[in-house]
């Protein structure tokens, strides 16, 4: 086990993915967005020059190219960078990649990984702050992965390139500096949720950056005497309902935190499933904390207000235990 930053774990995961399988190639940017850490990607670029391809501004074209290459036996990881840009590639991801295995009766696999940075990034405004994971959840055939810690990002990235299904790897620039311990050589299987913090009073189910915000809120609430359990599904598809329901059974109270817009967001689907499968365990209505159903504004105080903040999360938890 080594202690390191998220961005270091991610770069290690990319390096090991490339070194471990010559079918893996990277298409697109640097996987570090415009963060100050993006220069570190150049080391990987030097080592694997032939397998890292830069592309013109043609998301639809290169996502289709990656899908076709995956059908032909390669394992590409496509970096679309800003999550909103995947909207340009929608037909190739949802109509071609997601449907390939089913529509072909099992003849064709499309083991391509689409990597995006989702959510509010600081000044991105409406067109650079999208969180497409909920929309992708509505397209059968795609696996959806959301790491929230250094250990998760490395282990899940390695699992993503091993998966035979088209995978949406949903990252967040707000996670890049998070520190944590990372074991060597871990491949985290999909469909395994992670209890990030144990507690007995309320279950907080969160994804991506919201896991970190929920953990901070939990720290604060512990001082108020509320013991919060934070459960991170890590993958939406496949979803580990068993772990989620075990936590609901333990606490009877649920708050779901997610950065998609509230309507039909990730929290909406998880809430529906808990209501269907765990109704008897509930002592209070399920609560959701999500980005408001408005386009993401530009000005910093407005942007700060729009996504689930620590304060909003804490407020929802207090309401759940009242």
């Amino acid at each position: 086990m080594r202690e390191m930053a998220y961005y270091e774990a991610k770069l290690e995961g990319l390096r090991e993915a490339l070194a471990g399988d010559e079918r893996v190639c990277l298409i697109g940017g640097s996987f570090m967005s415009q963060s100050p850490r993006r220069g570190l990607f150049s080391e990987i670029q030097k080592s694997f020059r032939d397998r890292i391809l830069s592309v013109p501004i043609s998301e639809l074209g290169y996502c289709g190219l990656a899908t076709g290459a995956a059908m032909g036996g390669l394992r590409p990881i496509v970096d679309l960078s800003t999550g909103s840009f995947v909207y340009e590639a929608w037909p190739q991801v949802v109509n071609e990649a997601a449907n390939a295995f089913y529509m072909s009766g099992g003849q064709t696999r499309a083991p391509v990984v689409f990597h995006v940075f989702h959510g509010v990034r600081g000044g991105g405004a409406a067109q650079h702050s999208g969180s497409p994971q909920a929309m992708f959840w509505n397209a059968p055939g795609l696996e959806i992965v959301l790491p929230s810690s250094p250990r998760d990002v490395k282990g899940l990235l390695k699992a993503a390139v091993r998966s035979d299904n088209p995978t949406i790897f949903v990252d967040h620039v707000g996670l890049l500096e998070v520190r944590g311990t990372v074991p060597d050589d871990e491949v985290i299987p999909f469909g395994q949720a992670d209890v990030k913090r144990s507690g007995s009073d309320v279950t907080v189910i969160a994804t991506s950056l919201m896991v970190q915000r929920s953990l901070s809120a939990a720290e604060q609430l512990a001082r108020e005497g509320i013991q919060v359990e934070v459960v991170d599904p890590r993958t939406l598809v496949p979803l580990d309902m068993a772990t989620l329901l075990a936590s609901v059974k333990k606490t009877g109270r649920v708050v779901i935190v997610d950065e998609c817009h509230k309507s039909c967001g990730v929290a909406a689907e998880i809430a529906a499933r808990i209501a269907e499968e765990g109704f008897e365990m509930l002592k209070a209505p399920i609560r959701r904390v999500a980005t408001y159903d408005v386009p993401v504004p530009y000005s910093p105080p407005l942007e700060e207000f729009i996504a689930p903040s620590e304060a909003r999360i804490a407020g929802a938890i207090r309401a759940a235990v009242r």
Binding site: V55, L65, A66, G68, L74, P91, Q92, Y102
Partner: protein, 374 residues
């Protein structure tokens, strides 16, 4: 049947045709049964051509094989149309009757390990690439024995064992996919190429332009084959775009391109063959626009009121099978018996496929949830 349908390997052709003056192919150009060599931009090497009176033995075999393939496609599409009319095949069906020359000629220039992608009118390309008519017909009939276990249907034909990677129900949907397959072919360094078929409608789609750009930038071994039949769904091409020759788009992206008579199966084979040879040699992509005509509506059931009967009749006389048969007869390359046998065998093969398909069991309900994830 298998022997006659074997795809000939690509090799240099010693052309024996009389060369006529290059003529632009217009939809109202005079009908001629002599094969015409249309001026081809930047693809075919300049060669001297000697006059030949008879076809060589090899050519005879190859030409018979092309004729038999066109008949197989024609027979298949006509039978599918009948079954549709009788309600035994349902859904959206797009037939390529009248366009057989492009599929047969193009796939006749390929290797079994080349990758082929189609559009929504893709039965012909799948068959020409070597798909099994039994499994194809069963797929159209929604049976479990179909290529896609009844889950794909006409617009999503996949015959991976034959190298037909996929069709698509979305106009232009397979064009970027073909780039990916070409990329794999380039990396593997075994000379594989990718060929993607699409119609004139695809020239309006964003993916088309993005793909031409990337293909030429990366010098990918992909051949873009445009079957320009003058109609994008229900309207003539002129209602969609000012660019009447899709090959011009390729020129914009710096890609070698040509516009040829798509109903001349030998011209198709020659042009695609030359493009494929270039791509195998690492010289990058090419665009071949094949002018043709679909004799039926856009989909089965389309009353096609948007077309003049005289236009349809005019193109019937330029039917690729009819024209090629006349050429073969004139050159005495194939005997009348063999030509009649070609149609006979095709119809018999297709009948076998229809019997197979219609007597095959339906998928079990559990099939609905199977193979969503690998």
């Amino acid at each position: 049947m298998g022997e006659a349908l074997a795809i000939p390997t690509v090799r240099k052709r010693d052309d024996g045709y009389r060369r006529t003056a290059p003529q632009p192919i217009l939809q109202d150009a005079p009908v001629s049964n002599a094969p015409r060599l249309v001026k081809v931009r930047a693809i075919l090497p300049k060669k001297s051509r000697r006059k030949k009176l008879r076809a060589s033995r090899e050519e005879q075999r190859e030409w018979l094989s092309l004729l038999r393939m066109m008949w197989l496609i024609r027979a298949f599409e006509e039978r599918v149309s009948e079954l549709f009319a009788r309600g035994q095949i349902s859904g959206l069906l797009h037939l390529g009757i009248g366009q057989e020359g492009v599929a047969a000629g193009a796939c006749g220039a390929l290797r079994p390990d080349d990758y082929v992608f189609g559009g929504h009118r893709a039965h012909a390309h799948a068959i020409a690439k070597g798909a099994d008519p039994n499994r194809l017909m069963a797929e159209l009939a929604g049976r479990a024995a179909g290529y896609c276990r009844g889950k794909g249907g006409s617009m999503h034909v996949v015959a991976m064992d034959a190298g037909f990677v996929t069709a698509t129900g979305v106009v232009g949907g397979t064009i970027p996919l073909a780039l990916g397959a070409a990329f794999v072919g380039k990396e593997k360094r075994q000379g594989q190429v990718a060929v993607v078929f699409f119609g004139d409608g695809a020239g309006q789609v964003g993916a088309f332009h993005e793909s031409l750009n990337i293909a030429s930038l990366w010098k990918l071994p992909v051949i873009f084959v445009c079957e320009n039949n003058g109609y994008a769904e229900f309207t003539p091409l002129s209602a969609h775009t000012l660019v009447s020759r899709l090959a011009d788009h390729a020129r914009t992206y710096g890609m070698p391109n040509s516009t040829i008579d798509g109903n001349d199966v030998l011209a198709v084979k020659e042009a695609i063959g030359a493009a494929v040879a270039r791509a195998r040699a690492g010289k990058g992509p090419a665009f071949v626009e094949c002018l043709t005509y679909r004799l039926r509506g856009h989909y089965e059931g389309d009353p096609a009121k948007y077309r003049e009967l005289s236009e349809v009749t005019g193109w019937k006389s330029k039917d690729p099978i009819g024209r090629f048969s006349a050429v073969l007869k004139k050159k005495r390359a194939v005997s009348p018996e063999e030509m009649a046998q070609a149609e006979c065998d095709a119809r018999a093969r297709v009948e076998e496929a229809a019997q197979f398909a219609l007597s095959a069991p339906w998928p079990e309900p559990e099939e609905v949830a199977s193979q969503v994830y690998a």
